[in-house]
């Protein structure tokens, strides 16, 4: 049965390969990676260091080009998607501009690359940033400088800055890894609230299994040497996922499942390297 042409995925990687360095010192950061993410999904990439999860983010955001295979964002190349301002990026550090107030930090992106704004649909007018900041609990900090805020608040401002672009795709590179556990959980709450309202596709890189399970619709498990996708696990837990979630058995079952997958991915890596040296 012939179906109509499938809608373009939000993010599509097909047999992507990325190698750093040359010849003997070459590291295969990503090998034969296939990934298809539907619009509006919250997807986490998890895996040990060196498994290529940050490489995936850099490829999708167009900061790097694949050596083989293709990366598409809503059917466009990453460069075209950036030109149309479809992509929001939240790095590991807040990366705010220290000389601008929080409000001006989050509004500056709307003045950047103004032609992209006109090219986009009229319905996606830029949101009221004051309102968005208030929602993120930054109402009183709006006119302060970043250095006057705590690390958690700075990272929140960075997230608001990215959401303020109304991106089709939001890329987050371990955004909470530098925060203490308490701040981390409250930021997860707020991220889910914001995402609930603006419903963009999120690609979220993390080291933390519980963070991945709590936030995501889908968890992509990756393994190193060479960096590759080993498993894709759909998280079938009801939303909204408040703090109660941590007490539920299903939540822990998913955590155990993903830990298990990560462990077997490790083992297969060890086996592969041992086998390699034998030959």
């Amino acid at each position: 049965m012939q179906q109509q042409a499938p809608r373009a995925a939000a993010i599509e990687l097909s047999s992507v390969r990325r190698v750093y360095g040359f010849d003997s010192s070459a590291t295969v950061a990503l090998s034969g990676a296939d990934l298809r993410i539907e619009p509006g999904r919250f997807v986490s990439l998890i895996g040990p260091s060196g498994c290529g999860k940050s490489t995936v983010l850099r490829l999708v955001s167009g900061l790097e080009e694949p050596d083989a295979g293709s990366v598409l964002v809503h059917g466009m190349t990453p460069a075209e998607a950036c030109a149309a301002k479809l992509i929001g990026f939240v790095p590991q550090t807040p990366a705010l501009l220290p000389w601008l107030s929080v409000l001006r930090n989050v509004t500056l992106p709307q003045k950047i690359n103004p032609r992209a704004g006109r090219r986009r649909a009229a319905g996606s007018a830029s949101p009221d940033m004051r309102e968005l900041l208030r929602k993120a609990g930054l109402g009183e900090a709006m006119d302060k400088l970043p250095a006057q805020l705590s690390g958690g608040m700075q990272q929140r401002a960075a997230i608001v800055r990215a959401f303020g672009l109304r991106p089709e795709v939001l890329l987050m590179d371990e955004p909470f890894s530098a925060l203490d556990e308490f701040t981390r959980e409250s930021l997860q709450d707020q991220l889910l609230d914001l995402w609930d309202e603006l419903k963009t596709t999120v690609l979220f890189v993390t080291h933390s299994v519980s963070e991945a399970v709590r936030l995501s619709d889908t968890v992509v498990v990756m393994a190193p040497k060479p960096g590759r996708v080993v498993d894709v696990v759909d998280i079938d837990l009801p939303r909204p996922r408040g703090e109660r979630l941590f007490e539920e058995r299903d939540f822990h079952a998913y955590e155990d499942l993903i830990r298990d997958r990560l462990r077997s991915a490790w083992r297969s890596t060890d086996a592969a390297t041992v086998g390699g040296t034998n030959r």
């Binding site: 955001s61 950036c82 992509i87 990026f89 790095p91 220290p98 950047i112 992209a116 400088l145 805020l149």
Partner: protein
């Protein structure tokens, strides 16, 4: 007791909830080192006053013993109060030379730094030369410039501009390039143009470096102007000319009066730079803990 200790451990949590880092004590408190009222406390002003009194005493003692080494302070004060117009006019000439030279080199160095940050080829060609010239004592070519350009203001401006040029160039170039990678990545994913990155990210990021350069270069600009005047004996004016004329006639009081005026001029310039810097860099950590 144990309850109290529990309370104190709870404090950081409350703090992250509001998330706002507590303000430092009021600037009007006497205890605050940057408060204007702090000068009322003897502990702040007394050390300087004692030191000045000691130095003055030492000077007078030296004068009494060796009249050719130092003029009496009273003689220096007398020539200053008798001819204030003479010193002011000559100070004006020197000030004009140094500020004009500084302004010229500021514009040129800033523009070249921008070109260098946008064009790696230019940077690779220019930067090594700039670094070498920056450590060369450029005042040494003052006599040669006087030979080439005569006794007018041209050699003075050239010398001043040359001395100021390389510190400004190097610092600005570093500042323009040192925008943190994650910041650049965020704005690259918005497809920010090079001009937008320059205006919104690189130039503001370079400001602290630029002001650091100005603090180095402002005294240098006065030195440049004076050295050029000294090497062009027979110039029409300027404190350097005053010094070289007076010392050839053994008028030590006039020499030291001119040096005193130069010191006051240099301090005033630094004060102006500091005030502008505080305004422009209120966000920067260097302005938070400067005393």
């Amino acid at each position: 007791m144990s309850l109290a200790s529990q309370r104190t451990t709870a404090v950081p949590v409350a703090e992250t909830e509001t998330g706002i880092v507590p303000r430092e004590p009021s600037r009007w408190s006497l205890k605050h080192p940057r408060s204007r009222l702090a000068w009322i406390r003897p502990a702040i002003w007394l050390p300087l006053v004692v030191m000045l009194a000691l130095l003055g005493g030492l000077w007078q003692w030296g004068t009494a013993r060796m009249p050719y080494l130092l003029p009496p302070l009273s003689a220096v004060g007398e020539t200053l109060s008798r001819n204030p117009g003479y010193y002011l006019r000559n100070a004006g000439i020197t000030l004009e030379e140094s500020l004009l030279g500084l302004a010229m080199s500021f514009v040129a160095a800033f523009l070249l730094a921008v070109v260098m940050s946008e064009a790696p080829l230019v940077r690779r060609a220019v930067m090594p030369i700039a670094v070498v010239l920056n450590v060369t004592p450029l005042v040494a070519i003052a006599p040669a410039l006087v030979v080439a350009f005569g006794f007018g203001s041209a050699p003075k401006l050239i010398i001043t501009a040359l001395i100021c040029f390389f510190p400004i160039l190097i610092n600005t170039a570093v500042g323009l390039r040192s925008v943190p990678q994650p910041v650049l990545q965020v704005y690259k994913t918005m497809n920010a143009s090079r001009l937008e990155m320059l205006v919104h990210l690189r130039v503001p990021n370079a400001l602290p470096y630029l002001f650091a350069a100005l603090r180095i270069v402002t005294p240098l600009s006065v030195i440049g102007a004076v050295v050029a005047e000294l090497s062009a004996s027979g110039s029409t004016g300027g404190l350097g000319t005053v010094i070289s004329n007076a010392s050839s006639m053994n008028q030590l009081a006039v020499v030291y009066a001119a040096i005193g005026v130069l010191a006051v001029m240099g301090s005033a310039l630094m004060l102006v730079i500091t005030v502008i810097e505080r305004r422009a860099l209120h966000w920067h950590e260097s302005s938070a803990d400067r005393t």
